[in-house]
């Protein structure tokens, strides 16, 4: 897409994710989403006079885990700073954040499209730091003059800020990268990355690089886009903004550096970005070291222990699955992208079935289809791996053909019952004549003594075959087996 355009879109992202702690960054208030306004607040997160912060160990460890997974260098010494600005959702008048000594920097996260829509893109991470969230302001947008309501439940929730290099080159690429980042953070248990609940927020910086006839590259002024509420809107906003900047460039030839960075808000229903008011003075944040907190040092042992407990990140898990179960990179990608629970289910299933490819097909064509249709989770899926393996094994064995297998599968999903019961209830007990003949031939071949006895007239000896047949196929009719066996033996003459 950008290949065809007369410019390259340059995109950097700034992502904030809420960490999955029980309590806030600096106090013991709950971080649970959706509580009644101002019920999860205390002197510290209300910024009351005399209140003091104490750092949540788990928040720091989760942030460290995120930074390690993003291949960042971890600073041996880190501290917190105050970012001073007035806003009613920030009751202290400053945000405790990190300025000159973030705990981690210089990482990377690659995004690969298994279908090859774009080249694999390795995106540099400038820094990851730990800071506190603000509360929520609810504006009366219509009137513009009514009171603003402030709920401070969210104030003080731990946030990881992840800032990328301007390494992304197209809106779809940015979206894919965000998906990969989200997957990684969810895998690691760092964040639930739920955008609806605000636990993942994205701002994007975008401008265009436009080759000039003289070989120079003209760069349009960088615009920061805010208010994007889904990865889809990130892609739409970036697409819109790139086009807008191209039009503006053609009209004004305005280049970067001549005007201050502009902030524009994404208006999703209208599908456009709008310039936001920005007062020059409000960006002088007067950072200085937070005197109410002490610095944190991180040792190599701590880093090793966090790494050990981290679990396998998606990028390596895809490779592991592909080689261990002999499935295609595409299949591994599909499975891994569904999350850790689904991968665990798949591996359990594949182990029982003994065939990775078969298990993967059933996962993708059947399990995922149902999950998508019902918007369900694999954790709540009614067929557990053992039950599904049972079904698949029997299909593989030829007990049922694949379409029969699917019917049984569908019934197992609805009823929650095991294969046997479903098969019985569906009346799949009828065994074809050919099957019975085949089974009987098998039995006769395996029991020469009985064959000889029957030949010698002791027809009752055939009863010895019925038990064996039932074991082989519980659905077979004993009388039919007996008759068939006797017929076959007679036919031998």
């Amino acid at each position: 897409m950008s290949n065809a355009a007369p410019y390259t879109t340059i995109i950097g992202l700034e992502v904030h994710v809420q960490l999955m702690t029980r309590t806030k960054l600096f106090c013991g208030c709950s971080t649970k989403f959706g509580g009644a306004p101002n019920t999860q607040v205390c002197p510290t997160c209300l910024g009351l006079p005399g209140s003091l912060p104490v750092m949540n160990r788990q928040a720091f460890d989760l942030a460290l885990r995120a930074a390690l997974a993003l291949e960042c260098s971890i600073a041996p010494f880190t501290k917190w700073d105050r970012k001073n600005y007035f806003y009613p959702d920030l009751p202290k008048g400053y945000q405790i954040s990190q300025f000159d000594l973030p705990f981690s920097s210089d990482g990377t996260l690659e995004v690969v499209d298994p279908k090859g829509a774009f080249e694999p893109r390795r995106v540099g991470i400038i820094r990851v730091h730990l800071e506190e969230d603000a509360g929520k302001s609810m504006h009366d947008e219509a009137a513009g003059t009514g009171d603003t309501r402030i709920d401070l439940n969210r104030a003080g929730t731990p946030l990881c800020e992840i800032v990328t290099q301007p390494d992304l080159r197209s809106p779809p690429e940015a979206r894919a990268w965000l998906n990969e980042l989200k997957l990684l953070l969810v895998y690691l248990g760092v964040s639930d990355c739920n955008m609806q609940e605000g636990s993942l927020r994205v701002d994007a910086n975008v401008n265009l690089h436009i080759p000039q006839p003289d070989g120079r590259i003209a760069k349009t002024p960088i615009v920061e886009i805010k208010n994007m509420n889904s990865f889809r809107s990130v892609e739409r906003a970036l697409t819109y903004e790139a086009a807008r900047q191209w039009e503006e460039w053609q009209a004004t030839k305005a280049e970067m550096g001549k005007t201050p960075k502009q902030t524009r808000g994404w208006d999703d229903p209208a599908g456009i970005t709008r310039a936001q008011r920005h007062k020059e003075e409000s960006s002088d944040y007067r950072y200085f070291p937070e005197p109410d907190l002490v610095p944190v040092t991180v040792t190599a042992e701590q880093i090793a222990s966090i790494r050990d407990g981290m679990g396998e990140p998606p990028v390596s898990l895809r490779k592991t699955l592909a080689s261990k179960w002999m499935i295609s990179p595409y299949d591994a990608d599909v499975l891994v992208n569904q999350g850790r629970d689904l991968v665990d289910y798949f591996e359990d299933l594949a182990t029982r079935v003994g065939e990775g490819k078969v298990a993967s097909n059933w996962m993708q064509q059947d399990v995922l289809r149902i999950l998508n249709e019902t918007n369900g989770t694999v954790a709540a899926f009614p067929i557990r791996p053992a039950g599904l393996a049972d079904l698949i094994s029997r299909v593989m064995k030829g007990d049922f053909d694949t379409s029969r297998g699917r019917e049984i599968f569908a019934e197992m999903v609805t009823s929650g019952r095991p294969v046997d019961e479903v098969v019985a209830s569906m009346g799949i007990s009828a065994v074809s004549d050919d099957d019975v003949i085949a089974l009987c031939r098998e039995l006769l071949a395996a029991n020469p003594k009985i064959v000889a006895d029957v030949k010698s007239g002791k027809e009752q000896a055939a009863a010895g075959l019925i038990g064996q047949a039932k074991k082989k196929n519980p659905n077979v009719n004993p009388g039919k087996v007996r008759a068939t066996c006797i017929d076959l033996i007679r036919g031998m003459d």
């Binding site: 101002n38 928040a59 309501r149």
Partner: protein
């Protein structure tokens, strides 16, 4: 580090006043400009010292790594949280509109 301090202008002081969210009248501004210039001139005597080899000391303690466990503690009730609020609706703090002009000329 030995740059002599520039005297503060009324314009500087007005800007700092807005940054500090302090409304200043004309007479406040005049007085404050004089006082701040004098104080800034005085503290600028630190410029006499060569501190190029001295690391900043932001805090007297050498303590590091103070954490708490991720264990919930009691929160205030909404009534307690709002008890000193100049305006509230029983649920939320109320503040004048964050958006829009203040109606100033």
């Amino acid at each position: 580090m030995t740059t002599p301090p520039q005297p503060l202008t009324a314009k500087d002081v007005a800007k700092v006043g807005l940054l500090a969210r302090l409304a200043l009248s004309e007479s406040d501004l005049e007085r404050m400009t004089g006082e701040l210039s004098k104080i800034v001139g005085f503290v600028s005597m630190l410029g006499e010292l060569d501190t190029s080899d001295v690391a900043p000391l932001a805090h007297p303690l050498d303590t590091q790594n103070v954490f708490r466990d991720d264990v919930p503690a009691a929160s205030l009730t909404t009534a307690e949280a709002l008890q000193s609020a100049p305006r509230h609706d029983g649920e939320c703090f109320l503040v004048p509109a964050v958006l829009g002009d203040s109606g100033a000329a």
